[in-house]
């Protein structure tokens, strides 16, 4: 009886010791204020709050400084970047480059400017940030690293549409290992599954990471209309015509009075 108790205690000590020693054992938990964003008629973008907490002995949340980098990545889509060139007197789209799996949304939030958190090489090895996000383009020789002009155009254009964000959102330390940040989804956000990855940095290296999912989807009437238009395009067109004919006839009747 007593023997058994001693053995259990011994196990507990071993487990505790292992937790204490292993750097991968940092407990990191995160959660979102809303894990499912519904696009309805009044949708005009959404602001989410991500909460996270670090708790373990490898990082002493009360005394140790740590940095947080949060990467939100939207569903991948076939994205084309086109470049205009002057042909005769007019400017027309000439060259184009297709990125078969560019994220439709990409946001990096950090507790400090990225350059102060870790070296470029560290971010590069994890593919974090505009400069390091691995992204391939379709070329005649298959998938390859894109031309830098087109790559930077992709990031510049998507950033101007509010779809790519970096160095704009800050992760705030609340204290006791607790942190939070805002995630801003613009009105033109693509629908699909989003991956929210949280990285804990200490002394320029990653100490812990975790990922949670976020879903953005059209709901209700907007979902039904979209599905109808894409699933039954002929019938959708016919309904659109019938609606127009009825509306036009109504307008004619009302206008006569």
């Amino acid at each position: 009886m007593q023997n058994l108790g001693m053995r259990n205690l011994g196990r507990l000590v071993v487990v505790f010791w292992a937790l204490l020693m292993a750097p991968s054992a940092i407990a990191l938990v995160t959660d979102l204020s809303n894990k499912r964003i519904e696009i309805r008629y009044s949708f005009n973008g959404a602001d989410l709050i991500l909460f996270g907490a670090v708790g373990s002995s490898a990082v002493d949340p009360v005394n140790d400084e740590f940095d947080v980098v949060i990467v939100v990545r939207g569903p991948e889509a076939n994205t084309v970047i086109r470049q205009k060139a002057k042909v005769g007197p007019i400017w027309i789209n000439s060259e184009s480059l297709t990125f078969p799996s560019a994220p439709g949304y990409y946001a990096v939030a950090a507790s400090r400017p990225l350059s102060q958190i870790a070296s470029d090489a560290v971010f590069a090895s994890y593919g974090i940030g505009f400069d390091h996000l691995p992204i391939l383009a379709r070329t005649p020789r298959g998938l390859a690293a894109p031309d830098s002009d087109f790559r930077s155009a992709l990031f510049r254009l998507q950033a101007s549409h509010g779809l790519f964000r970096q160095e704009q959102d800050t992760v705030v330390h609340i204290g006791e290992g607790l942190f939070k940040t805002d995630i801003r989804l613009p009105a033109n956000v693509p629908v699909g599954d989003f991956l929210v990855e949280t990285f804990i940095f200490k002394d320029g290296t990653i100490k812990a990471r975790n990922r949670i999912m976020l879903a953005v989807d059209k709901e209700g009437f907007e979902r039904a209309a979209y599905d109808f238009a894409h699933g039954y395009p002929f019938w959708y067109g016919l309904v659109a015509v019938l609606v127009a004919l009825t509306a036009g006839w109504l307008a004619g009747v009302l206008g006569k009075k």
């Binding site: 005009n44 470049q83 400017w91 254009l157 609606v243 127009a244 036009g248």
Partner: protein
Amino acid sequence: MPLYLPIAELSMNIFLVIGMGAVVGFLSGMFGVGGGFLMTPLLIFMGIPPAVAVATESNEITAASVSGALAHWRRQGVDVKMGMVLIVGGAVGSFFGAQVFTYLRSLGQVDLMISLAYVVFLGSVGGLMFWESVRAIYRQHKGIKPKLKPREDRHKAWIHALPFKMRFRKSRLYVSALLPLAIGMFVGVLAAIMGVGGGFVMVPAMIYLLGMPTNVVVGTSLFQIIFVTALTTIFHSVNTQTVDIFLAVLLLVGAVVGAQVGARFGLRLKGEQLRALLALMVLLVCVKMGVDLIVEPTELFSVGEAGSH
């Protein structure tokens, strides 16, 4: 108040959309035109993807033409037989126009095609209309009355030589069916690629090429536009899924009210003055489109989804 448009996939202020409909409706009511040539560029300018703007505007024009055509129908102002021939041509033209549209969209050249079509057609039609109305105003000023040709001589010799002649009683015409077929087809292509009804091309063609009496021209043209834009809507919906019913209905709400006010306002102006103003407006849209093509854009790159993988 923002409203999310499920097909355009963006959010727009509902009052802005209705307001745009009202302004264009006012102008179209005043000048007695469909207004597609104003609305489609305006929608593109507001950030609606060009493909959605063109397809949705087709849908709105169907609605706008119904009320106009009904009014002409009550006044016996529709030549149904002529309309049918124009519709057959229009259906063929619209089908091919929509195919070209879809193909160019996949190449990323649809914006260019829309702009070029606007510059060419608005430029020529607006220019002719402006010249004609200025001349009319000048003549009226001087008291010169142009001689009217007798109806029989209005057709050129080559038109008489065409085969497949058909009798159109309402228009009091005996003319080859090929001519209205060709006109209808041309208008159908324009409807599909420009998001317009095509009245600005069809009405002059009916008057000057076919020699139709003016009392049936507008009604018959509206009659054709209803069917051709309806077909165009379906073609675009099947090919590219770019028809946004919600946007179309909202625009229509504004357009209906605007057109009523505009029609009353238009009564205060003389025909030549109205035509000159309309011509100026057409040329303005043409110049805006043309300048955008010529001036070096500040951003040379643009992003687009290739759609199907």
